[in-house]
Symmetry: C2
């Protein structure tokens, strides 16, 4: 029960592929005024945002290397690792800005000391700090939590995501190991360069939201999905027997015996992409999202749609489980 | 990010079929202490709750005709019409209790004067007042809203619900007209005794949550679903050509052209019960809940799971769009 009579002043911090998509969307929303765009790439600084994100017109906003002024909200998209982006988040909060970030590790910070410290910083500046996205942020945490509200009791939640990477951008296809041999895939998994981030954060958010204490978190497994036939994308070719992408799992059990089981497959040539959430309880709830939720479009949507929602939330470190969400026209 | 170290004192107000189910569930939750149970039925007053709800054991709580003491939260389940239950809700709030009610018309009060007045009452007493349930309250409002958070833009939302009434309790089978002739069904629709309540409330909550102003709400249609073959339930028999239940629709269009289309079919012998939410947007989101969400079990779950959620919400009249929801063990 809220209406916005005046626009919200928002800046974008980080203009990589996701930041650019967020900017494109924000420029379309009548209730947002984009007041700044920050990136440290010398090739972007000093240029108009419209030019930098390929808008086909000038946006009237020049990219700066540091934030100028004090926008009400800053959308932050510079990295996945909290240790790298934490100083940026702190500086934005110190300035008095609410911050919504796509940093995967911010979706539910696992380190209690960092969590407390960010909580303290956000509260002391009277701002909200939210990590969001599709996964982590929605498909494996917010959505199963929301569906679980229909259950009197539950014994297990299975979330299974199959993503067809064929139509996604090249960096994503490379990041999942598409086109590698099994040996090179194993090496890349071992050195941490191939891994979908955020499963543990989703799992912890989900457990926490249901009041569960986790007794045991099984290690993540990361395995190759091998191509059964030749797969061609705009960027690469995968021969039969080569790696088409990854299959990653993580499971946990609560002290009370509730099992949480996550599986994500991201590979080129996936035939039946879908997001499936199976809640075993009273009643059972079994939800399938046909084709799955499109990662690139939906990530920007999650961020922008969260803007009006965090403005009415309590200040502090928020997870997606702390706010109600929805599209905002 | 919340844990309950001590239990929450909750009373049940109204011990009909739904109130009894809520009580049964509350008695199982370790974080709830049931401190009272209210009903005006002389056959229930003075009896132990366990006896009244058929628990098979005493609960140690005696049913009273009026609320005793000041529980932190009261779960209210006495009627569908706001005009009838409003004095009860007000009295509970004046006593300083948070209130969660299954009253369909409370899910999103349509009358602005009543909405304002309830808002004022709740805020002045520092309590939360929430209307919840499965439909209205979840399948046609909270869940589509949550899914829509993945969308950058959207042009339409279709929600379709097919419920098999065969396994539901007798009053529900009667309420949907099962076993009537077409003529008696039409008469019952005309006099308002056959109608699924809450479509307009869901529609308004959904539109409001997305920042849409509705330009036009088409009238509800209520039609019979006719049995194709003989349907037997524990309570009645429907011959081919007789009414098996109802099909009800409601559509609305926003000032910006977004269409919201609801359809609910509730009938005995339904072969493929499911809840389907189709969001036409960027990206499309198409979700199906196989078998649908079970109404009786899930309504009690919605109420009880909302208890810890409203305790951390701001005081005032809340809709399901104002709080994050989830199972609480």
């Amino acid at each position: 029960m809220h209406h916005h009579m005046q626009t919200i002043a928002v800046a974008q911090y980080g203009i990589g592929p996701i930041g650019a998509e967020i900017l494109r969307l924000m420029l379309e929303k009548p209730w947002i005024t984009v007041v700044g765009a920050v990136d440290n790439d010398p090739g972007k600084v000093g240029h108009d945002v419209g030019e930098v994100i390929g808008l086909g017109r000038l946006a009237g906003i020049t990219v700066t290397p540091e934030l100028v002024g004090r926008p009400e909200v800053v959308c932050h998209s510079t990295g996945s690792h909290l240790i790298a982006v934490e100083p940026q988040l702190r500086a934005l909060m110190e300035r008095g800005c609410h911050v919504i970030s796509t940093c995967e590790e911010l979706s539910f910070p696992l380190d209690a000391a960092i969590r407390e410290s960010l909580q303290l910083a956000a509260r002391s500046h009277g701002v909200a700090l939210l990590g969001t996205g599709v996964n982590p942020g929605f498909v494996m945490d917010k959505l199963p939590l929301t569906l679980s509200a229909a259950c009197q009791t539950l014994t297990a939640i299975d979330v299974r995501r199959v993503v067809n990477a064929s139509l996604r951008r090249e960096p994503l296809q490379r990041k999942i190991g598409a086109g590698l041999s099994r040996e090179r895939f194993s090496t890349a998994v071992a050195d941490g360069s191939i891994r979908h981030m955020g499963l543990r954060e989703s799992l912890t958010m989900l457990a926490n939201g249901m009041g569960l204490e986790l007794a045991r978190i099984a290690d993540e497994t990361v395995e190759p999905v091998l191509a059964q036939e030749r797969v061609l994308t705009d960027f690469l070719t995968v021969e039969p027997g080569e790696v088409a992408g990854l299959r990653q799992t993580m499971t946990a059990t609560s002290t009370t015996g509730v099992e949480l089981r996550f599986e994500i497959q991201v590979y080129v040539g996936a035939k039946d992409p879908a997001d499936t959430i199976e809640i075993h309880g009273l009643p059972d709830v079994s939800a399938t999202i046909r084709s799955g939720i499109h990662g690139d479009h939906a990530t920007a949507a999650m961020v922008v749609n969260a803007i009006p929602r965090i403005l009415t939330a309590r200040p502090g470190l928020l997870s997606m489980d702390d706010i109600a969400v929805g599209f905002r026209e």
